[in-house]
């Protein structure tokens, strides 16, 4: 396919690797923020190809992984109620709640449906005026424009039977949380190319300056990732800490303005729990007061939820780059993609699932 295969060219990859080799003189730890990048790194074996002095740490940019357990449990409780059509992106169905997952609710007779676009959920609400259609609005800044438009569209169509559980999260506050932790190991970031496509990269400039870390907005194909690493390594070796844009074919400094406007019309910034990590101030999105009527968490009565995570799961440490999946005693044993104990084993973008799929078991 055009504009895809070109970015997987093995000869250019090899030449980038030589340039990285030539540039690196000291050991560096670089975090790729997005789970899509983690997936590509494992799929193409990029860590193994890099000089030993470069360690890639896998970041928190996996929406399925960080959606708080409490909201998953609420989703499960609402999805089981009579009269509800519960809609979600497909990869949320296997995310473990405290007791079960959405897939189990469906198997038990709940009307749980996978949608490809949140507009499909709005359409279901139009077609089923006697049912309540609830959409689980998860994701980073990349899905926020889509999920915001669904609310806007429901309002435009005068629908009173559509609502969202808004579990949106934001990248920059998470990077700050990682950098300010006493356990931090990250020296440079590959920022998530599609988040930057929506938001631009100007919001990373104060972070790069304040913490002295290079941040490179990077795409998802092997050559994107290798070029991103090269740019980050050059900055680190030269003592620079700037924001650079590797993913120029998609990212502009100010992002997609009309998408950003829609996000701030429908959503406002709120504190948010990150699964496994804890609360990060100003790191989530909730509905603006003008759209509060579309909030499923207030529309549906849900008994107080007591969340329960399996003790063995270290996904929070994995998501902050402190540990790698094989450091978890359950990895590949009790915890596999078929029987996930933690959310990072569920999605293709989760580090545990990516390690399991492409690296097999630790020997």
């Amino acid at each position: 396919m055009k504009y895809l295969e070109e970015f997987r060219d093995p000869d250019v990859a090899r030449l980038y690797l030589e340039q990285i080799e030539a540039a690196v003189a000291r050991p560096w730890k670089i975090m790729e923020v997005c789970g899509g990048q983690t997936h590509a790194i494992m799929q193409y074996g990029i860590q193994e190809l890099l000089p030993d002095m470069i360690t890639l740490l896998h970041g928190p940019g996996c929406p399925v992984c960080v959606t708080p357990l409490e909201q998953i449990d609420k989703a499960i409780a609402i999805a089981g109620q009579p009269g509800v059509i519960f809609t979600s992106f497909g990869d949320m169905l296997r995310v473990p709640g405290s007791e079960k997952d959405l897939f189990t609710v469906k198997a038990e007779g709940g009307d749980v449906r996978v949608v490809y676009s949140p507009l499909d959920a709005v359409k279901l609400a139009t077609e089923n005026p006697d049912r309540e259609v609830v959409f689980l609005a998860v994701g980073f800044e990349t899905t926020a424009p889509a999920n915001a438009m669904a609310v806007k569209q429901a309002a435009a169509l005068g629908l009173s039977n559509f609502s969202e559980i808004v579990a949106q999260v934001l990248v920059p506050p998470a990077l700050e949380a990682i950098l300010t932790s006493p356990k931090n190991q990250v020296q440079g970031f590959l920022a998530a190319g599609h988040v930057c496509t929506v938001m631009g990269y100007h919001e990373y400039e104060p972070i790069a300056a304040r913490y002295g870390v290079p941040i490179v907005a990077t795409g998802f194909e092997p050559l994107d990732i290798l070029e991103g690493i090269l740019l980050a390594v050059r900055q680190l070796e030269e003592g620079r800490h700037e924001v650079e844009n590797q993913y120029r074919r998609s990212v502009r400094r100010t992002g997609n303005e009309s998408a950003r406007e829609m996000i701030s019309e429908v959503y406002r910034v709120v504190p948010r729990q990150w699964r496994g990590i804890g609360e990060i101030p100003a790191s989530g999105l909730g509905l603006q007061p003008a759209y509060a009527a579309y909030d499923a968490e207030t529309r549906f009565k849900v008994d107080t939820i007591r969340t329960q995570e399996p003790e063995v799961c270290i996904s929070g440490e994995v998501l902050q780059g402190w540990k790698k999946p094989p450091d978890c005693p359950a990895f590949g044993g009790d915890c596999t993609p078929e029987t996930p104990l933690g959310a990072t084993m569920v999605s293709a973008e989760g580090a545990c699932a990516a390690y399991y799929r492409y690296q097999g078991l630790p020997v």
Binding site: D11, P118, Q153, R248, A348, E349
Partner: protein, 95 residues
Amino acid sequence: MCLAIPGRVVEIYEEAGLPMGRLDYGGVIHQACLAYLPEIKVGDYAIVHAGFAISLLNEEEAQRSFDIWEEMIRKADEAGIPLTGESQSAIEPSE
């Protein structure tokens, strides 16, 4: 949810008051909402996320990368670095 690849717009239409498009991914057609790319035309490449086109692929910038790589490969050839030789066709894609 987050592995967006570029598709080519083959048709633009309206549905429930929103601009929509059909995009071709090497023969597979998906639809997407185009509300966030008011300038988009048939034939453009776009990156779609969760059913919404979020960016118009900048073909000039992509071409700039291809040119840089071509130069890298030419220099490597001159320096006698053995390569697979498959790059030229890969870097200059045919429609």
